[in-house]
């Protein structure tokens, strides 16, 4: 007998992982939640059948979505994480002693509960005293905050289903409002490779460019996401991700990372020409 998890990356491309056993299957008010155990990737979480993270490669995503902005902003005290109920982003954030407050807004309590039980690798630091979890719609939460956060991390699912409100112009605008005058926002921004993902990526970029004075895109290689080529958005009111980046200051923190380093930081903002073209298409002249 062979048991395989398969996700359609496009109508014509599938991605499969051989599954050892299924650890959890449930349906929340928002989505179907599954946890599988596999030989190659360890445990992995899927929502509505879409890969969210595997134990083997989640470090790439979580390090890149946290350390890049943390190495640019000189004094992050208050952080808002939207989505990210798996706890991976929080795990990286709590490594910074300068951070005083981390608010995690996850719409689906069941995701947090399931990750706590089955994915301690990412969820283990959710009990850090600086962390407060709000089980709310991220769009609604951010609407009610003004001039509060130094950093907002948008760790959303794809722009269809419960995460779709987190790819909208009203959401980015409200994030802008919720940030302090020097605040910045990073978001997972889909892949440039397959056309359906690329369109979502362009739409997000266009809306962020409309909302923030500085908007750049950086990349990472995440084997279990469609095409493996993944983008993040970096939007900021004041700091430029490369020219305001202080590599020696970050080095002095002495954080051990598996993917991120200060050379990667610079390099990640160097994009392939086809990606640059996609972004320029939606930027104002």
């Amino acid at each position: 007998m062979e048991l395989w998890f398969t996700e359609k990356h496009t109508e014509n491309v599938t991605f499969s992982i051989k599954v050892d056993r299924q650890l959890y299957c449930g349906r929340s008010d928002f989505q179907r939640i599954d946890i599988f155990e596999s030989k190659e990737f360890g445990r992995f979480l899927t929502l509505d059948g879409y890969m969210m993270l595997t134990e083997k490669d989640e470090f790439i995503y979580h390090e890149m979505i946290v350390h890049v902005p943390m190495a640019v902003h000189p004094a992050v005290k208050r952080v808002l994480v939207i989505g990210g109920g798996d706890g991976g982003a929080v795990r990286e954030l709590v490594r910074y002693p300068s951070i005083e407050q981390i608010d995690l807004v996850e719409i689906d309590r069941q995701v947090v509960d399931v990750c706590r039980k089955y994915l301690p690798q990412t969820a283990s630091r959710l009990d850090d005293p600086r962390v407060t979890i709000y089980y709310e719609d991220g769009l609604k939460f951010v609407r009610t905050r003004e001039n509060v956060y130094d950093l907002i991390i948008v760790d959303s699912t794809d722009p269809f289903g419960p995460g779709e409100g987190l790819f909208t112009k009203e959401f980015y605008g409200n994030c802008y409002k919720a940030l302090t005058a020097e605040g910045l926002m990073v978001n997972q921004q889909e892949s440039p490779f397959y056309p359906v993902d690329a369109i979502a990526m362009q739409r997000a970029h266009k809306r962020i460019v409309d909302s923030f004075p500085i908007s750049r895109v950086y990349q990472a290689h995440i084997p279990t996401y469609p095409s493996g080529h993944w983008l993040f958005g970096f939007a900021s009111k004041k700091y430029h991700p490369v020219t305001d980046f202080n590599d020696s200051k970050w080095e002095t923190l002495g954080l051990k990372t598996k993917y991120y380093n200060t050379k990667i930081h610079i390099g990640a903002f160097a994009l392939p020409n086809y990606v640059k073209n996609l972004l320029e298409e939606v930027e104002p002249d």
Partner: protein
């Protein structure tokens, strides 16, 4: 044959039977279950095209129902508490026109508020009846036109004892209700018919704690847009009759203008939607009312906007309010409703029902999700943050009392000439001018063009309202009655 009950959907069942018979079609429509028009079938889907069929014995005939459509209409009548229900496939427009034309002949008078939909005044052109307008009044702060007060209706009846009928909006586009019960009783005492435009009131028949429906208070006829809150396909509608109104005569009137090729897509959608409402309407509309209440609270929390509700009720011109409506006053953030409407679509990919000078209306239904409401509220919050300005110089909507010189039919068919708008002051117009939506005429045929009305038209145009009704598609020219 199974007993007829609200669990049944006779037209749906007949279509399913018909499909399983695999009948070879040598009749219209010529696409032959989609096979003759691949592109259309690919677009709409094969299941859709296979039931786009012609009237035939097993499927009955909309013009003269004797079997399954008759049964479906009986079930609809039962569900809505009417004596009979007609399935309509030319829109609620044709239901309103059929009501008016059933009640009034050439030269007859009909009492109505001026804020009726264009379809009602069009019915006057078709029938040759004359309107007696009751001033619906305007809410001074919100600038929305209201319901008719009982006193004004009484006055209109005393002045026009020969009127044949009254037409009442239940509710208005914004959700405002007149005192339908008291007006119906009063009008019946004077032996006139009560016709009710319930284009926005389907849910009144099924939801709890909603304003009363026309049939429940004993009105004679009602035009009900099933395709709005009822969930059926666009253009499908119901005409309900009650009391002594003759079913046969009304059917003749309907058949004067309604297609003889009634679409089974529309007819079956009425049948299926009626069943859904009868079985689950109560819970469905409770859900919609809850969502609307939540959204109102959130919108009012933003500040600057005013999402209004039952607190407006004054017992007279606002006798009740439809709490499923999400109507929002925008003038206090310095933006016209139409400007907010355009920003929502152009900047935030959110399409709402309409915006006028001072308000917007977001149409909520069972198809809505909480997370989409969050988008709407957040976008409104952003619009305020980014675009709010001083509100001085913003025009509020006022009721401009029409000066009726000629009956609509007479004016419409009179010899006319085209004039630039600005040169038309003092003339009598022979066509409509309205913003669409909502389609309530600013000018109707036979009314005098005044400087005040022109100012309003120019302002609405400048703010980006979509003006329509005139022969000139740009609404720069207006047809006026030739003066000798």
């Amino acid at each position: 044959m199974k007993e007829l009950s609200q669990e049944r959907a006779p037209v749906l069942e007949a279509l399913n039977r018909y499909k399983s018979m695999r009948v070879v079609p040598f009749d219209v429509p010529g696409h032959k279950r989609g096979k003759g028009n691949r592109e259309l079938t690919d677009f709409l889907g094969e299941r859709c095209l296979t039931v786009d069929v012609n009237s035939m014995k097993p499927l009955d005939n909309l013009c003269h129902p004797v079997s399954v459509i008759k049964e479906a209409e009986e079930l609809a009548a039962e569900a809505f508490g009417a004596r009979h229900a007609f399935f309509m496939v030319n829109g609620t427009t044709s239901a309103v026109q059929s009501m008016v034309m059933s009640a009034c002949k050439r030269g007859d008078k009909i009492i109505m508020p001026r804020n009726v939909h264009r379809s009602a005044i069009n019915a006057l052109i078709l029938s040759g009846a004359s309107p007696v307008y009751v001033n619906p009044g305007v809410h001074t702060d919100l600038g929305i036109s209201l319901g008719m007060s009982l006193g004004d209706v009484k006055q209109a009846i005393i002045e026009n004892p020969d009127a044949k009928a009254i037409l009442i909006n239940n509710p208005t586009y914004y959700g405002i209700c007149s005192n339908l019960k008291a007006i119906t009783e009063l009008v019946h005492k004077h032996h006139m018919l009560v016709l009710v435009d319930e284009a926005h009131g389907t849910h009144f028949y099924f939801g709890r704690n909603l304003p009363p429906s026309a049939m429940s208070v004993g009105a004679d006829m009602a035009a009900v847009s099933m395709h709005k809150s009822g969930g059926s396909l666009t253009q499908s509608s119901l005409l309900l009759i009650n009391n002594d109104v003759s079913e046969g005569y009304v059917r003749q009137i309907i058949n004067l203008t309604q297609t003889t090729s009634g679409s089974y897509l529309l007819i079956s959608s009425l049948d299926i939607s009626r069943r859904n409402l009868a079985l689950r309407g109560d819970e469905i509309f409770q859900g919609v009312a809850d969502m609307a209440a939540y959204a109102r609270e959130e919108v009012n929390h933003i500040g600057g906007y005013y999402a209004f509700s039952r607190e407006l009720v004054n017992g007279n011109t606002i006798c009740d309010f439809d709490v499923t409506k999400l109507s929002i006053h925008t003038l206090d953030i310095g933006l016209a409703g139409i400007e907010v409407y355009d920003l929502l679509r152009d900047e935030y990919d959110i399409q709402i029902e309409f915006g006028d000078i001072g308000n917007i209306l977001a149409y909520l239904s069972i198809g809505d999700r909480k997370l989409d409401l969050e988008r709407l509220v957040s976008a409104l919050s952003e619009i305020k943050r980014r675009y709010a300005k001083d509100k001085t110089g913003m025009l509020s909507q006022e009721y401009i009392k029409p000066q009726i010189i000629l009956a609509p039919a007479e004016a419409f068919y009179a010899e006319s000439e085209s004039l630039p708008l600005e040169q038309s002051v003092g003339r009598v117009c022979s066509e409509f001018v309205m913003c669409y939506p909502p389609g309530i005429p600013i000018l109707a045929p036979g009314e005098k063009i005044t400087a005040e009305i022109l100012e309003y038209i120019q302002y609405a145009k400048a703010k980006g309202s979509f003006l329509t009704g005139t022969q000139d598609s740009l609404v720069n020219q207006i047809r006026t009655i030739k003066e000798r």
